[in-house]
Each structure stands twice: as C-alpha cells, then as structure tokens.
C-alpha cells in the first residue's frame, strides 16, 4: 500500500519534471553549436556525405570505440557467465516443427542478407546505415541460420577471429591517425578522395567496415551463447 503510494508519488513527480521540460522546450529552427560546424564543414573536413557517419566515425569516433567495447564486453561476460559444462556442451537440442520452408529459405536468404549487410556498412559514409546497422543485419542472418537449425555449430573460431582482428584493426587505424594525421581516429591519413565516391572520406569506409564486422561478430557471438545455453540443464 505504502509502496504503491510511493510509486504513484514518484511517477507524478516525474510527470511534473517532464512537464516542465516539455513546456520550456522550443523546437529548434536552425542548427547551432557543433551541429552548425558539422553541417558547414563536415563534408569538407571529413569527406563523408552521411554526416551522421562523419560524426559517429570521426568526430565522435572515440565514443564509437567505447560502444563497440560495450558489445565486446557483453559478449565476453556472457561468454563466461553462460559457459556450459562439458556434458551439456555435447547435448543435442531436439527441435520440432522447423519447417522445410524455413530451412530452405534460410539457406537461400542468408548469403543475400550477408551481402546486404556488407553493402550497408561499406556505403555507410554515403547512404543511411553503416557499421552498426550492417553488423546487425549480418547478425540477423546468423540468427536465421541458428533458428533454422538449432544444432548448427556456427564456426566459433571464425567469429572469434573476425571479432579480434577487426577490433585490433580499429585500434590500429586509430593509432595511424595519431601517427599520420591529426589525432586518434583521424580519418585523413588516407586521401579524402572525391566527395560522394565509394572510396572516399579517407579511412571512414575502412573503419566502418571493421566496425561492421566486429559488431556483426559480437552480436552473433552473443546469440550463439544464448543458443547454446538452451542446452544447459
């Protein structure tokens, strides 16, 4: 009873706080501060058509590195948290009702999904999408594979290698930015190229590809762990 009262009190107070935020909110009519700088100079400085990508990969690349790290951490933690013992590891999941249709369509669709994912992150600097979206798409492909056949052993080593190498490359590219350009994660150590081309915007396509691979591998890793945990007794 007291608890419900307190919850009600809390929620009412939140409503009050948010109401104040809401009424004091005046919709923006023009870009200010750093956003104005990005809009004016972003294309020139970074060379990416997609300014969100410019911000994510370069201007706030350090955040993105942290973000990738979070996924990596989660995968690692789940790795030792949901670790199976040897006996459970060998178990086979009895699955019923996976339709032939799903299996076949998975086999057909997965390569296309993978390709689409790669496309999304390679074009991240030009069109909507990028490493995270591409990575998520790849991971969805993996998810489809697993769903079609729960006992399918995803090549664990491959995921691990992709995750590791792309992570290291991300850091190395960042360091190259210090060595060859203005600072950590500076994309300008590769020529910015022609604005709007696939191979332009300096190292952005490279970085975003590694991010894409890494995110894809990490999410797949997490899914794989969850899938395996189904065997735990």
């Amino acid at each position: 009873m007291i608890r419900n009262f307190l919850i009600g009190l809390v929620l009412a107070s939140f409503v009050y706080i948010f109401y104040n935020l809401y009424v004091s909110y005046e919709p923006k009519t023009e870009l200010t501060g750093i956003a104005a700088h990005y809009a004016e100079q972003g294309a020139k400085e970074v060379g990416a058509a997609n300014l969100v990508t410019a911000v994510v990969v370069t201007y706030r690349g350090f955040d993105t590195m942290g973000e990738v790290t979070i996924l990596f951490l989660t995968a690692s933690i789940i790795g030792f948290f949901l670790k199976l013992n040897k006996k459970d590891e060998k178990k086979v999941i009895i699955h019923k009702g996976t339709s032939e249709l799903l299996v076949t369509s998975a086999q057909l669709l997965v390569p296309i999904i993978f390709l689409f994912g790669v496309y999304v992150f390679i074009n991240g600097h030009l069109t909507p999408g990028g490493g995270f979206q591409g990575g998520a798409i790849i991971a969805s492909g993996i998810a489809l594979l697993i769903m079609a056949n729960p006992n399918k052993e995803i090549n664990h080593h491959a995921i691990l290698w992709i995750e590791s190498i792309s992570g290291i490359m991300f850091v190395i590219i960042g360091l190259l930015g210090i060595a060859l350009a203005g600072g950590f994660l500076d994309n300008r150590f590769i020529s910015l190229g022609t604005f709007g081309d696939l191979f332009s915007a300096g190292a952005i396509p490279l970085i975003y590809s590694f991010i894409g691979l890494k995110v894809g591998a990490e999410i797949s890793n997490i899914l794989n762990k969850y899938q395996k945990s189904q065997k735990e007794s």
Binding site: N4, L31, Y38, A43, T74, F132
Partner: protein, 126 residues
C-alpha cells in the same frame, strides 16, 4: 498548427514512454517484465534524443542530390541535427548490451531459485 510540431509530439511520446518504463520497473515483480520495462524506458529516451535534434521541414543529414550543392552553405539550412542521431546510435547499442546482460542474469537467477519474483532475491540485506 504551430502547436502540432512533429518534434513536440515525439518529445511527448518519449516522455510518456519513459514514465511508462519507470512505472513498469517500479511496479512489476517479474524480472523479465522489469527488463521489458527497461527496454521501453530506453526506447523512450531514444525518441527523446532524436526529437530534440529534429528541425521542422528538413531532410536527413545526408548530403546527396536532394541537398543543394556541397559548396553552397545551404546544407546548414536544409538538414536536421546529426549529433543526436549519432548519440542515439550509441545509446541503442549500449541498451542492447545491457539488455543482453540483464537477460543472462535473469536466466541465472531463475536457475538459482526457480522463480522470477524479484522479492525472492534478498539474500544480501541489512
């Protein structure tokens, strides 16, 4: 018309989702429900962030054919704020990481006591 701004509407939706999220977090006993409430809270915050970057009548912050010439400073006047969008990308991924971890915890907690009632897990107290 002035009142019906897309940014304002989204902001409102964001706030409402946040409050619903808090409501769920504080009132639901089931751990899975609490985690669901967290995802709603996260979604609310994300909507909030994006709507704060929205500027009426402008396009996505991608410079292509729809945006006039690059050299032209009109970019400044034709796109929405890219920064909140970049932040939301990060926030979504973080939210996913946290949710995955919370669910792993939920599984282990259930395995430990065969219940998902949060008030059963009070071994540590006082």
């Amino acid at each position: 018309m002035e009142y019906l701004n897309l940014g304002k509407i989204s902001l409102l939706i964001g706030f409402i989702l946040i409050i619903i999220g808090f409501w769920g977090i504080l009132s639901q006993k089931n751990i899975i429900k609490i985690i669901v409430s967290f995802t709603i809270l996260d979604t609310g915050i994300n909507i909030l962030i994006v709507s704060l970057g929205y500027i009426k009548g402008r396009t996505a912050p991608i410079i292509d054919a729809s945006v006039p010439q690059l050299a032209d400073h009109n970019v400044l006047n034709s796109i929405v704020d890219p920064v909140p969008q970049a932040l939301v990308l990060t926030a979504i991924v973080i939210g996913f990481g946290v949710t995955a971890l919370l669910l792993a915890y939920a599984m282990k907690l259930f395995k430990a006591k065969r219940t998902l009632e949060i008030n059963q897990f009070n071994d540590l107290k006082w």
